[in-house]
Subunit: 496 residues, 2 copies
């Protein structure tokens, strides 16, 4: 076990190496690394006292809070698995989570949906006073070293066959992924991250854990509120927050009067107003386009745009800690330029879905994790994300991937967002229909948009129908295609 480094171990080292550094800020609460280490030891001991043991699941049902990180670290110390669930879900969806995960304990914040679940048989610990009493009333305890290859975090994702599955991530995978962010974002000690995106989503969680890894400060806020984000950036000298697209516009607008000093934020260039408020960062993560290709099952990011500046592929190049292959249905590698499934191996990969043995076998066939997404290796070695494998439109004999069409539409200056579905077509089986959101105040006609994509897309890929909408429904970062199909008459998909 000399090579093991669990999240609990990372904390234990910071408690010694960074005795004066603030680990966590949440409202009036400020916790140093030694204090966090002590609280986590107490919490782990308390959970053990309530019967939670190695491999058991502990669920968080609430908004963002310091307790999410503490629960995750206590689970790591215990060898248990922490699942911050999406508490915004309906009562039925939340009941599915409890039935699926059979948690040994649930820490909860009151809400209508959660209150209705209290008949579910498990240990219920109310966030706030009861949670704090548990910590203060328990003596810290030494636990045997946890194996960093064991799962420690469960995040629901991947609604295969209509029901979501909990992706299990080990400490080893989370530490490796955090380190890849340290590399690409060039994070340093002193990094302060504002957790204003949902912690049940890997996009926020991955930066929370990278901040932990480098011994920085995690600031928690219950949810995204542009004014509060401004206040916290100023007050806590925040280095980075969970912001993109319209969230950035909202923050810039909230600070239009310059009330708050946002210069500590080192982030991507966005608009003239924004760039004046913040410090534009020159790390590979921020320098040109942020992001890459990722999914919960790879710990967050599999490829980074920042590792492929000027590259042809829209997804960049692989993280230094993974391998990527574009594989055909038979498990063989497809040649550069051809579309296949994006497959991966490496240090950041998940350990399978909780209680889904058949799905897990299917996802790891031929010894590679199959992402369920299609991609292409470009001649310069960079990778293009083509679209979800299960979301393909068939028009005539041709395969059309929505993401490709959406990308072309979004290059029009008036388009704020776009999603593409397939609708039944008497001649071609399906036809491409685009649902487009225009920028506030901008105008464009369907004909203009169809004309705009003419050079970028082959004729069979071009939308035959364009409708305008106020917003695109989302599931995480991708369009909610089921909702779009229902609202805009999608159907006749291949295999359906």
């Amino acid at each position: 076990m000399i090579h093991s480094l669990s999240l609990s171990d990372v904390l234990a080292d910071h408690a010694r190496s960074r005795p004066r550094v603030t680990a966590v800020v949440d409202g009036d609460l400020r916790i140093t690394y030694p204090e966090l280490d002590d609280r986590v030891s107490r919490l782990a001991a308390a959970l053990a006292g309530l019967g939670v043991s190695g491999g058991d699941r502990v669920v968080w049902l609430g908004r963002n809070a310091y307790a999410v990180l503490e629960l995750l670290l206590a689970c790591s110390r215990l060898g248990a698995v922490c699942c911050p669930a999406n508490w915004r879900q309906s009562q039925d969806e939340l009941r599915f989570v409890l039935t699926d995960l059979t948690p040994a304990a649930v820490v909860w914040e009151p809400s209508e949906a959660v209150e209705a679940l209290r008949d579910h048989g498990t240990t219920w610990i109310r966030a706030g006073e009861e949670y704090e009493r548990l910590i203060s009333g328990t003596v810290p305890r030494e636990f045997p070293q946890a194996d960093d290859a064991e799962p420690v975090l469960a995040l629901y994702t991947a609604a295969f066959g209509g029901r979501p599955s909990a992706a299990l991530l080990s400490s080893a995978a989370l530490v490796a992924h955090a380190t890849s962010l340290l590399v690409v974002r060039q994070m340093e000690p002193g990094f302060t991250f504002l957790n204003n995106g949902p912690l049940f989503h890997v996009g926020t969680m991955m930066f929370c854990l990278a901040t932990l890894q480098i011994g920085g400060t995690n600031v928690f806020t219950p949810a995204f509120d542009p004014g509060e984000v401004c206040r916290l950036i100023d007050a806590e000298r925040v280095t980075q927050a969970f912001l993109f697209g319209q969230m950035i516009d909202a923050v810039a607008e909230a600070n239009a009067d310059g009330k708050y000093d946002l210069s500590s934020l080192r982030f991507v260039s966005h608009s003239a107003e924004w760039d004046d408020m913040i410090t534009v960062d020159d790390s590979p993560w921020c320098r040109s386009k942020m992001g890459g290709y990722g999914q919960t099952e790879v710990g967050g990011m599999l490829t980074f745009l920042g590792l492929a500046e000027g590259g042809a592929g829209f997804a960049g190049r692989p993280s230094p800690l993974v391998q990527v292959r574009i594989l055909g249905p038979d498990g063989g590698e497809v040649p550069a330029g051809e579309v296949g499934e994006i497959c991966a191996r490496g240090k950041t990969l998940f350990s399978g879905y909780f209680a889904r043995p058949d799905l897990n076998a299917e996802k790891t066939k031929y010894g590679w994790h199959h992402t369920g997404d299609l991609g292409r290796r470009e001649p310069d070695g960079t990778i293009t994300f083509v679209g979800p494998k299960l979301r393909m439109i068939k028009s005539g004999a041709e395969n059309i991937y929505p993401a490709e069409v959406e990308r072309a539409l979004k290059t029009h200056p008036a388009v704020a967002d776009a999603a593409v579905i397939g609708v039944p077509d008497p001649d071609w089986h399906q036809a491409v229909k685009a649902v487009v959101v225009l920028d506030a105040g901008a105008t464009a006609t369907p004909d203009e948009l169809m004309e705009h994509v003419r050079t970028a897309l082959a004729a069979y890929k071009r939308p035959r129908h364009v409708v305008f909408a106020d917003t695109i429904p989302k599931r995480g970062f991708t369009p909610d295609y089921d909702a779009l199909d229902e609202a805009h008459g999608g159907g006749n998909y291949p295999g359906s």
Copy 2:
């Protein structure tokens, strides 16, 4: 094996993700990543054909060359272990290496010492033509995925009991360590490293492998030649070379006429002339003082000064991928401020010494790797390296660690280098004796130096004797204390 990422896997991914990037430059030889991948597959197949199989050792006996990296990668592909040995050693020392490691193959460059060993029973492959014939004459072959937890590199170090031992490093440890350098040195794609230090030493090897990890370019030169280093920096737009202290002075002097453009080098500030020639780098590795505390057994660096700017400890803070504890003889943690043994766990640690079961058990007692070095945790959590555990001077009842005294002496402006030994003393059992090298043209008397350290050191630690020498004999980066004792009358050490 979905989580495994061997050095061979890193290469296989670069061959796809970086088809146009130059991986290796050595003299007239330029090899892209796909070419390197192909050559390594051929070399692995050729070695397998010669009977080398999983776990076998392959030794390199020669100067720095592209073949060292190729052999290491081919061993990774095969599951074998590559040992670049210090070919400057005497014939007896080299024979010890062959007897100890019992390699299945030796790739060699002619030298008097090596020629004399050719009676040793193994497969001898001469570097250059024979090696190239082997590669060109063999068909590349697919090998089953190697387990990244298996050893792949052996580096001789740690002369416990007078004989060196081969530290075994796995792909997992080397990849983790390389990633820690990517973080602290903020290495990016395009990084070009000049391998001008010896590849049998972890100090050069670790940057060679970090450069591989990020998909950069490794430039090889047989040995350190200041003029050639200048030429190569200019010609290959080198980002970093293996340079420190007097090596930097020598390079600056070799380029005093400004013949070569060294501006591609992003490195530490050193002298006015030097800073004018290069680009002073602001990564944590280069920003203030370079380095930290390290040893071969931890993959290179265990702690980094760049993670503890302004910290009290001379060794900085731990790498993000390890834990460090200061332990007492009973395995318990000693309080901050007290001296104990520097111990470690984590992703970068070695897998033990080759064929030294007793030593390995001793080094991993209480579940922690014992570095054999003494250190102290400072109140701010940073770590101070106090000195080798086995190199302690006892004067009166007091323990004196040479490194502490040496550090104080080196703060005198006239002192270029210093080493401290214990000499027999009739009253105090031992007395401290300093061997000092003065800067060229500088003068200082023994009394001046003794006076200089008065404020920094307690009375019992101050040198009672000071002698001057032209140079301090070294073993790697540390003084060769055995040689110093012999030359300057050292003795009466505790336990001897």
